[in-house]
Symmetry: D2
Subunit: 348 residues, 4 copies
């Protein structure tokens, strides 16, 4: 089978295992208070161009989302997200488990707009007695979104401004950050993100690490006592140096971005094939996720050789699916996939 | 510095890294639904002598404790534990974060007795209107305890009986299970534990793995929909096969128990030294934790060369500390430690 | 000012105060375990035509909703509701505070349809690995809805069937139950509700009581240990007999339904006036809530004499508002309101 | 039967019912934003001698405790209480349900000492990495305590000082505040309490009201958005004016204190009888709770005529019980009780 159903089916970049093998004999203090974590945090601060950032390492995306949100909000406050946002649809109520409501906004392309946020915040604040509704306090966005789209710098600036104006935090889920920042035409940099967000994370699990997300906190109101929050939510890894090691391997000389770039390049080749064959997509994109719309009969053929993620029915006879390339996707796999796609579509 | 402050300062057993390196190129389905996890689960069932056990793999102890407890209890129910229990004192309220109270019982040696449990359960059930108090529903014990002591089989049988009688679940925290089962004079087997407990776990983090705890659920009332609970609490590892790989490496041919045995043997040598030198201990034990009582002046000397965990003052001039050996502790380290201990005690 | 902004601005029906005055000197056991609560519960069972119902008395709607939902669901389960449902928009995250997600469905008229529920439940259950999403387990409906509409018996039967089929609980919020059951053309009885729902409540606060909601639980899986849940959520009233007294006063000889009928009759008079004057409404209805659409200039005039609830803009120059009659609304007030409405609309 | 099992078995003071009857016809804005609540709040500020206090009215003690604690603490913080504290033993985990741990301190007389608090806070703050334990942030005390004892002004001052020094909030549960402030020899005033505590409440339920607790918040860090917290926790009463009415009736001219005084006087008479008869008590006291120790055979006789609360066994043949007088206890009842006590004790 060809694996295109997600970007975490493969192990990890060899550089990580080499370091792990090299450092296996060392002793480290527990819980992330070690030299490797300190180094990786320093590297992240350098790449972000800010010395005042708090950096913590967690094991997975859901854990990171729930810990950041629970750390930032008071009990009656909620987090605004696109209706397609990962925290809203794909985390088994992990945010609600910390007592907070996700305030979902309609979206076609996976993005939240500044105008939507403004409308919501203004509507709440203009009430005579707002205490009967959840108070919006944080905006959660994914970069890239769950539909593979990207915010432009202008859109991020607008979100930043509206959040400032209404006293909301801006939180960017960067589980696939590498794929976003290296996408063709992307006009956003890591420094922009560190400047515009109150908190965000650099995803490792989906971009070459065994596991791990690096949380970067710019707003001191969220940063305070964050280690207590990690521990309370069950996210404190005893051998925390494992996380520092991986992020240092990925970030110190740009490996993270080079391997993310590969995923985008491979995805571009698939997109080209789809376009040439006249196969429509659900949402256009430039990152490692592609959402072709295929007939049920084509899918029947394709599914015998390719693992993909089913998305939703588009009409009576067609469905959208998701194909993911990843840091490890090779030319051969992509060629084979494209061949199978064309075969499936053009079967008699 | 000599590392004796815990049993997770070192990396992992080389066998694990070898397998990881070998399998790095493979593709795996996500979230623990892979061949490696299935194999490790089968091995655990075989070692437990029961085919009907549900097995899940989680990343750390606190996460495992909170997930199991939240899965087992209804909202108004609480978990009974020794006052020294890890969930009561050392998890930053992670159990309370799931809405459950820890009902703490006094203890001198870290153990909960069947008589204590019976008294508590009977007292609650005998009330005319019990609804004003937390309903005890689960008993949490650690094996070995946080003070390094071990329940005898008879004690476990008694706890099992009283739990059955009063409708309580018995949950055994086996973060250091290997060190317990291989301790000199231990009369408990893994099969006993699987027979007497409703749920327990086999700790990997402290016994040679990079990270990981294997939860074994015997009671179907707790097992139902457990994967939903893991995800909701942020404990679902994307590359779940990492956990299966490690447990299979440790368990398939007994490596886990051999390396645990090493820690106990090294601890016995330290105990012998202490005894010969007339240095008292806080609680006698046979596992990898040792709790010597030393004068402040001896500690001042020792602490320059040895990392240990401070426990508590014993009197005006003496404190108890904890020394941990581990699966990786070598003869040389132990000899050096013993020499330093004697020097520290016998300084002029 | 004329009070039409809600149905709980007035004190309580005189019958309640008379009984309270009469019984003030009595001593009662605490926490609802008294003769008055027992009598009221028996009356409710009689009216529902079922002896096997558990009945509990709580103080307010939000408290009732959160307690019932938290009692019924396991941690990873969610409650399905209309997007306009009270628990979704108007309870400051009280359900999420118990750790549960509200799964909101789009609606035009405030109702949830059986087809929507089926789609959602089937979609969840058909997944290979559902553990990444909240598991739908309960359907919450309001009767009448927040938009004043009513489910027909056929619609309730259909909801009941689909809930049975997919293993969901059906929970009916009857904060305004009296106004629903006595509406013109209503084909649903209290017995129907007791037969079709797993749990529901009879609202007192909005129908003549000082405060209070009577929870009726038909499903023993929800009924178990419900008093523990009440206490845990802070809803256990020390002088619980206050609630029994009120419900017995309202229900023993039909007072509840007579005074509810009055509200509907008065609302019908207002509806007639609106219709005659050609004033449109947001949603047509037959209960005590009316949603006229008025121009901003008309509202400017009206708001000087009448208290109402603002709902939402309908277009550039018009807004929908809510007018509520209640058990205590008199002819004079309604005449005055109608006069003011016409004046406001017909101003030059 | 004679009711001495608690101080909330009787209805309410007639003054309250008179006002209720008088005001029944009035219309009020909902949710406590009415004239009656404003007046009662102003009266409380006047009695406390401070204009800067936030005042809110809630329905019961458990609800008040959980709402205040959840409003004050960040998720990983805990509340320190005596092991006999109401929140620790008698609220079915209502505080834990909001995600917070109760850090229980041993006590003989129901009181927490400043030295205990200091030890705990210092021990936590002195840790190198405190993130593995719950962070103590609030001290909860009851005045009078659950054992009927009273803090002296000096003790309160000491608690205040140590809380300030270590950054903890001081929260006083005044469910029985009236009985405390009017006890013989009490050297604490309402103004002292308002000066020394960050937040406290004046209990109505147990001192003559139908229900209700008046929360007084001196610390603006706790006061912010408190109405959101009330609503979220299900404690927002639709007809909130009911609470304002009661507290104004009780407080505007000192009725609250006069009727509390009666309870203490009646309790003193019982204490005198016990003393004269040589009947020991568990804890000496001066408020409306008395804890005589009686033989099982005496209790067998007494329980046929008197309702009391069972406390605990004292030795093989004797138990401590609790007798409560209340604002409504009359001379006749006390004489009868004393007679029955002596008969029970002196039976052949």
């Amino acid at each position: 089978m060809l694996y295109f159903q997600n970007d975490y089916h493969a192990g990890c970049h060899p550089e990580i295992l080499e370091r792990l093998t090299r450092l296996r004999q060392e002793d480290y203090p527990g819980y992330g208070q070690d030299e490797l974590c300190r180094k990786a945090a320093a590297t992240i601060r350098r790449l972000c161009g800010r010395e005042d950032l708090a950096v913590h390492f967690l094991m997975g995306g859901t854990q990171t989302n729930l810990t950041v949100i629970a750390a930032a909000l008071r009990p009656y406050q909620g987090v605004v997200a696109a209706q397609s946002g990962h925290i809203h649809v794909h985390e088994t109520g992990a945010v609600e488990a910390t007592g907070h409501k996700v305030l979902a906004l309609p979206t076609g392309d996976g993005k939240v707009t500044a105008a939507q946020v403004e409308r919501l915040a203004r509507s709440h604040q203009s009430q005579e007695d707002g205490a009967h509704e959840v108070q919006p306090k944080m905006v959660y966005i994914s970069y890239p979104t769950e539909l593979g789209t990207l915010y432009t710098r202008q859109e991020l600036e607008a979100l930043h401004r509206v959040c400032r104006q209404y006293g909301l935090y801006l939180f960017l889920d960067g589980a696939r950050l590498g794929y976003g920042l290296t996408a063709k035409g992307c006009d956003v940099t890591l420094r922009d993100i560190a400047r515009l967000c109150d908190v965000f994370y650099i995803g490792g699990t989906k971009v070459g690490a065994l596991f791990g997300e690096a949380v970067v906190i710019a707003n001191p109101q969220i940063a305070g006592d964050f280690r207590y929050m990690i521990k309370r939510q069950g996210g404190m890894l005893a051998k925390g140096w494992l996380l520092g090691l991986q992020f240092e391997a990925l970030l110190e000389d740009g490996l993270y971005f080079r391997i993310a770039q590969n995923a985008n390049d491979q995805a571009d080749r698939i997109r080209k094939t789809l376009e040439d064959a006249g196969i429509p997509v659900l949402v256009p994109g430039r990152t490692n996720q592609i959402f072709p719309i295929l007939s049920d009969s084509a899918l029947k053929v394709l599914s015998q050789k390719v693992l993909y993620t089913d998305m939703e029915p588009v009409d009576e006879t067609r469905r959208a699916i998701r194909l993911c390339t990843s840091w490890s996707t090779g030319d051969g796999e992509v060629e084979e996939l494209c061949r199978l796609l064309l075969t499936a579509v053009h079967q008699p």
